[in-house]
């Protein structure tokens, strides 16, 4: 009981401890704000990637693609853990808008909009056909024309509020799309005959996935048309990937393992058939592995930021050390008296450790509250700064970010609070040890009193 009383007494009576609490609060405040924003951005980015590709991808990096994808899809659909399966064609193309003098390089993705909306969140990314993804490639102005869906940043500029100037209905614009059709061996299918396939598609919708790279470089085409364009149609049709969505109750790794074993079985069944060697280039990956090149970069930034804040947090350890060192120096008589009435060294250490714990706890509490208050207003503050000083933390015309994430994650909070308390306890170690080592006979000598 006396430990709690003394710890609280030192906290209240010794004004110097307020500075230690202030220092801890300041560090916690900054860390809470920065880590919440970073964690929010990373989580948002991961979720957008997952929405874009589904849960699992069976595919190849090669633009040649692989055969017998339809048989594999049939096999998948017969299982009870698959919710949606969608085949996809991927390639590079040159696109030029009718009436424009310029052409530019894009990536094309051929897909079936209904299937793809079941396997991924493709339907949700559309603008005009959000309610009816089946008509994604059907231009409203002429249903007989072959439609194409453009990544939003290919067609419209983003303003400083992250909004786009959508037209009331899709404009009638033709796009000429050309690409190299490839044979199953990767050679040019039209070598000596012009080398490329070109077809005109008509703008039918925008797609906004929230992924800057995809929205600025992807054009979505109807699956069969893309197959023809890329030379993948014919008696042995090819596709580049199959996107899969699992049923909600299935864990990601378990689902991917099941798909991988089914794929191995399928490969063995098809061994010896024509062009079955293309199946050797196919891998089965979860969405995390498939998109790791992009996600890893952001996670690494988060890790580096954490390490840098850890260095800065060392200052907090120093402050707590100095404050406790000071208090223990001044309170040597108190400690001498306590020890002379029978308090053990361990109890002395516990007393001052408890005091350090209180500093950490209080400082974290103040820092967390201030951080939370700042975060719930962070977007309003940014808007105010933009209106009055033309300052935006992230220029929305350059960065594909909406509102600054401000949802405080309980996990992050707990880690920060524990780290702050541990830092305070670390700072208290040496002073506590010194206090425990002090001898009452020396501190209570007459000339010391």
């Amino acid at each position: 009981m006396y430990k709690i009383i003394l710890a609280i007494r030192y906290l209240i009576k010794r004004r110097i401890t307020y500075f230690a609490v202030l220092a801890v609060a300041l560090c916690v405040f900054i860390v809470v704000v920065v880590m919440t924003v970073m964690t929010g951005l990373v989580s948002d980015f991961k979720q957008k990637n997952r929405d874009f590709v589904g849960d699992c991808i069976v595919g190849t990096e090669s633009l040649v693609g692989f055969t017998y994808y339809k048989d594999f899809m049939t096999m998948m659909e017969e299982t009870d853990f698959i919710e949606g399966v969608s085949p996809v064609i991927k390639s590079y193309a040159l696109i030029s808008r009718a009436g424009s003098q310029h052409c530019y390089g894009v990536e094309i993705m051929g897909l079936d909009p209904v299937r793809h909306s079941q396997a991924t969140s493709f339907g949700q990314t559309l603008y005009y056909r959000k309610a009816d993804a089946a008509k994604a490639f059907v231009p409203t102005y002429d249903p007989n024309l072959p439609g194409c869906v453009l990544g939003i940043d290919l067609a419209l500029p983003r303003d400083s509020n992250s909004s786009y100037p959508y037209a009331v209905s899709p404009a009638e614009i033709g796009y000429s799309i050309s690409c190299f059709p490839l044979t199953a061996k990767g050679a040019l299918a039209k070598a000596g005959l012009g080398e490329i396939n070109t077809q005109t598609f008509y703008f039918s919708d925008h797609s906004q996935s929230g992924l800057a790279r995809e929205d600025s470089s992807l054009v979505y085409l109807p699956f069969e048309q893309a197959q023809l364009l890329c030379g993948m149609a014919g008696p042995l049709e090819r596709a580049n990937a199959v996107h899969i969505k699992f049923k909600p109750n299935l864990k990601l790794n378990a689902g991917c393992e099941k798909v991988a074993s089914l794929w191995q079985m399928f490969k063995q069944q098809k061994a010896g058939e024509e062009q079955a060697d293309l199946l050797d280039t196919v891998t089965v990956q979860s969405w995390k592995d498939y998109r790791r090149a992009f996600i890893a970069a952001m996670e690494k930034e988060q890790t580096m930021m954490t390490v840098m804040f850890a260095f800065v947090g060392i200052t907090t350890v120093f402050i707590v050390f100095v404050v406790l060192y000071m208090i223990i120096s001044h309170k040597s008589k108190d400690i001498g008296i306590l020890k002379s009435v029978g308090v053990s060294n361990a109890d002395i250490v516990e007393l001052f450790s408890g005091f350090a714990f209180l500093i950490g706890f209080l400082g974290s509490g103040v820092g967390l509250s201030a951080g939370w208050l700042f975060l719930i207003r962070i977007n309003r503050i940014e808007k105010w700064l933009f209106e009055h000083f033309d300052f935006q933390l992230w220029d929305r015309t350059i960065y594909a970010i909406g509102d600054i994430p401000n949802q405080v994650s309980p996990k992050v909070l707990v880690v920060i609070v524990i780290s702050a308390i541990v830092a305070c306890l670390a700072g208290a170690l040496v002073p506590c040890w010194q206090a425990a080592k002090s001898k009452p006979i020396e501190t209570l000598q007459v000339n010391q009193l």
Binding site: G99, Q101, F180, E195, V322
Partner: protein, 447 residues
Amino acid sequence: MLKIFLWLRYLRKKKIVFLSIAAVALSVSLLMVVASLFSGFIDALRQAAVETVGDVVISPPIKFAKYELLIQRLEQMKQVEAATATLSAPSLLHLGKGNVRAVHVWGIEPARRAKVTGFNKFLRRQGQSDKEPSFDVPGFPERIGGFVGIAVVAEPNEKTDEYDFAAIEKMIGEQVILTTGAVPAAQEFESAAAQVKRRTLKFTIVDIVFTGVYELDKKFVYLPIEELQEKLYPNESGRVADQIQIKLSPGTSADVAIAQIRGLWQSFVDEQLDGAWYLRNTDIETAEQMQNPYIAELRKQMGVLLLIFGVVSFGVVVLIFCIFYMIVSLKQKDIAIIKSCGTPSSSVALIFVGFGACVGMVGSGIGIAVGCIVTKNVNAIEGWVRIIFGLKLWKSSVYMFSRIPNEVDWASALPIVLLAIAAAAIGTLIPAIVAARTRPVEILRYE
């Protein structure tokens, strides 16, 4: 003299002062490293822009003819050392079995380009020799040669972020196919009917370009400007280009040079290009000006990060306050004796404020030294982290450059040091005031 004596004494006797020096050093080194890395990145971006397109760029909205005459006139100006023309178009490149890339093809004059941008040093084969770079295909004079960016051919190793140069150089001599497109000259101004015509061209890779800037190495293919023009604009009688890149003479002011170049360009348009209004007011800017939006954004991010770390480093002020408050509390008798010998209160206060400033100076000095060492060796440190933890922190595909820029930003050092000294002095203010208000008669009373 008294001050220095007391400072040295407290430094010897109160080892805890070293803690405040360490805290100042830590904060200063962190701010220094952050400022240097960001500034280095911005400088590298500027440098890459100059090495890609020269000092000044003339970028008309559409292609124009008679560029050789324009270049001749430009090179007669004393402000201009060399100039070269380029023609560009987006393209698809078929590199081999199933390997297709979306690239940007530049038609260039390699010898002239080497004078404007130092282009030859980026060539893996021809960069070793003193000869002017050339597209000639050894043994096949009738073939068209081309240079290809290194990342077009192969990606760097995922773990080490390094290229397998031996494997990549095996592509030299390979024939590849490029398809590109342009609007025929006759349709240029018929916007409704204009249709981009696709053209295909076969060329032999004669060299690999490695600039160290991932975006450039991944996107660009270089062909002879005449060959590209023949494909894109076969009906053009004269030579055409869509950009002129200029190297200025050493010591030339960019603003003065741009004004002179603009005057020359407008005269050229009036005389040779029928005074076309859409060409007269063409963008003429330095390579650095072209990067301004990105550099402004980077500077903003640097400012925000420095502010964040600066605010946290405010804890140093609190630490110094605590330490000096403790020293003043414990050394009250010393202070009382000094005052009783006639030292005024202001001098007593200055002793402690001065000591705080010295702590700030020493800490800043150590911090700057540590910051410099870390910045200069950042690539080695990154290598050790990769070897020890298996974590590749810096990737060219993410951060644009193959190597982390590691030049120390001395311009940032002075403000950081001054701020550190001021922070340390501020931290000692209250203890100094307490010391100054000490009453010798109360402290020195015998009890």
